[in-house]
């Protein structure tokens, strides 16, 4: 079925945000805060980063002035939507002693209705992966589910790629195919920006039509398709996820892991910014008088030693074993576990690694090592 697509002017776009507020959504969008783009509350179009674009490279992210006049002339926020839906720090329970028993004082509050305005195709792909992990298994994560079910997603197709993007090789972008209520493409070349808007849900259709969106001319859809294809072609980084499982199995003891371990800090930044890394730890706390207790859930990282702490010590004590675990799980083992790679090609782990370790380059070097080790063909 062909999706309904619309043409929207700047006034219509502003109306979208207004209507979402009227419908009771807390609206979040990419916003300039402390030298970077972050998911923050937006009141109107004025809060979006018009006049700013990003320079992204390994271990380097800069906001730089932009003259395009577009609202979306940038790529990803520093954090994925994981930070908004699979919260970094949440109190899951509190209890108090009473008459020899205990009473539960607190359960997680009902999730607010949140709209995310300006999610990228890789952000949507990450949610599809998190959905499989946190909702699609026997054990459903209720905190995530409550927030996820209430989320309204306004995506933006990427008509340009950042140097650190490699979504095309993983089939997760640069054009959003599913998982949105509305997907926009921005045309900012000539004066006031104009938008191509696709509805991905009945709620998306209602909202667009309520904002005065007109049916889009067919050439507009073609232009978006062409721009996204160009963006895909411009990507220099890639990962061949199909080759990953066999490659990782073959190179488990490769000296290459020692080389990357000399640089890896095991600081866990890659796992924190990864939009699909979902691991959490639980901590119990108690008051000094022992009358009250709380249980907290926190993002955890496979780069910490406590992550694999079992009786007698940690399983993965070396940096090498921890980096290998992360890359192997993300690109290879995840496929056996959940049916797709755990990577969306967003490039955050490359940008936000303090020493600029590049997962695509590590993967290429492993492939090169495998090719060199393979017996010559007859």
């Amino acid at each position: 079925m062909r999706r309904k697509s619309y043409r929207l002017d700047a006034t219509g776009l502003a109306a979208l945000i207004g209507r979402l507020h009227e419908q009771g959504y807390a609206v979040y969008g990419p916003r300039v805060d402390d030298d970077a783009l972050h998911w923050r509350r937006i009141r109107s179009v004025e809060d979006l980063p018009r006049g700013w674009t990003q320079e992204l490279a390994p271990a380097r992210a800069r906001l730089v002035p932009d003259s395009s006049g577009g609202l979306f002339h940038h790529w990803t926020c520093a954090e994925g939507l994981k930070a908004m839906l699979h919260l970094p720090l949440v109190r899951v329970m509190a209890a108090r002693r009473e008459n020899g028993a205990f009473r539960i004082l607190h359960n997680p509050p009902p999730a607010a209705k949140c709209a995310f305005f300006g999610a990228r195709p890789c952000d949507l792909a990450a949610l599809a992966i998190l959905d499989r992990v946190l909702l699609g298994d026997r054990y459903v994560d209720d905190i995530y589910r409550a927030r996820r079910e209430n989320a309204f997603l306004v995506a933006v197709h990427c008509t340009e790629s950042a140097p650190t993007c490699f979504c095309a090789s993983l089939g997760t972008g640069p054009r959003a195919r599913s998982g949105f209520d509305i997907a926009l493409a921005e045309f900012a070349e000539a004066g006031e920006p104009e938008y191509f808007a696709e509805a991905g849900s009945p709620a998306g259709i209602d909202l667009l039509e309520a904002c005065g969106a007109q049916p889009a001319p067919p050439e507009m859809a073609r232009q978006v398709e062409q721009a996204c294809t160009r963006a895909a072609g411009a990507q220099k980084r890639s990962v061949n996820a199909h080759a990953a499982p066999a490659l990782i199995d073959a190179l488990f003891e490769s000296p290459h892991w020692d080389r990357v371990a000399r640089r890896c800090l095991a600081c866990g930044n890659c796992t924190m910014v990864c939009p699909t890394c979902f691991c959490v730890n639980y901590e119990d706390r108690n008051s000094l008088d022992g009358q009250e207790a709380e249980r907290w859930r926190l993002w955890d990282s496979c780069f910490s030693q406590s992550f694999t702490y079992i009786h007698g010590g940690s399983v993965r004590t070396s940096l090498k074993s921890r980096y290998r675990q992360w890359l192997s799980h993300k690109l290879a083992r995840w496929q056996a576990q959940f049916g797709t790679p755990g990577c969306t090609g967003c490039g955050r782990c490359i940008v936000w690694c303090p020493v600029g370790i590049d997962i695509t380059q590590e993967f290429q070097e492993l492939q090169a090592a495998a090719a060199a080790a393979a017996p010559p063909r007859e």
Binding site: A36, A59, E79, P88, A266, N269, R285, L288, L298, P354
Partner: protein
């Protein structure tokens, strides 16, 4: 509460230090009454004239060992302590005063003091753990009051304290901070420093200066190389690692293992 129903006895001792870590305990104003209700503060000269003899259930030790007298006293204190916890960078790593360890202490004494004959000191400032076994370390310059309260609450409840040994970055990212190193090119010791302070400095757009000391399996040489990429001089890199926790080996190796120019 110990098995015989009495409140655990706590003592606080001090060696070469600025008293800031002890002040963190007094700084816990909202919780101080609860602490006093839960434990028996038997020896804490900074807070009370009451000075009871040991043995103690929990001994908090602030400061580094810098004199012969310190070196003897810590042996006596250890014998009186069921659990010995070092509090702060001085007790845990030797402190900023461990800078003397790379220099001629006798010469410094001659330069600084009008009558050097009165000064009796060791050549080095060393952590408590170089002298006696330590059961737990609370990091920081100064320590974090929430970690101290967590340690006491966990000990009273008979559980392991939630005091992570991983990097500051994990705490910083959970807070939603922008990485100052990646987004502003500011050298930050966060990726090799133990979490626990709440990422105070990066939250204020400053680089972490490592007052919590090295995290578990810190890879400081790799971070030091990146500081050079960001434009820091050799001297600046050395100075960054040679501060409050400079004597701890994971930081010390940055300048002791580096090839000499």
């Amino acid at each position: 509460m110990s098995s015989d129903g009495r409140k655990p006895r706590i003592a606080v001792f001090k060696f070469a230090s600025c008293d800031g870590c002890q002040l963190s305990l007094l700084d816990a104003e909202d919780e101080l009454l609860a602490v006093a209700g839960a434990v028996d503060i038997a020896y804490f000269p900074e807070a009370s004239r009451r000075m009871e003899k040991g043995p103690y259930d929990i001994v908090l030790v602030e400061g580094s060992i810098t004199t012969h007298h310190d070196a003897e006293a810590i042996q006596r204190i250890r014998r009186q302590a069921k659990t010995l916890v070092t509090i702060g960078a001085c007790a845990t790593a030797g402190g900023i005063q461990a800078l003397r360890n790379w220099h001629d202490t006798a010469e410094w004494v001659r330069l600084v003091y009008a009558k050097p004959d009165f000064i009796s000191t060791l050549k080095t400032s060393t952590p408590v753990a170089e002298h006696v076994p330590v059961d737990f370390e609370l990091r920081g310059c100064p320590i974090n009051k929430h970690q101290l309260l967590e340690l006491i609450a966990a000990t009273l409840a008979g559980r392991k304290p939630n005091i992570p040994a991983y990097s500051l970055c994990i705490e910083c990212k959970r807070r939603g901070n922008t990485c100052v190193m990646v987004a502003a090119g500011t050298p930050c010791l966060g990726p090799v420093t133990q979490a626990g302070c709440g990422a105070i400095c990066p939250s204020m757009r400053r680089g972490c200066y490592g007052c919590f000391g090295p995290m578990e399996s810190a890879n400081a040489p790799s971070l030091a190389s990146q500081f050079r990429v960001l434009g820091a001089s050799r001297e600046e890199v050395d100075r960054a690692f040679r501060s409050y926790n400079g004597w701890s080996w994971p930081f010390r190796r940055v300048f002791e293992e580096a090839p000499k120019p």
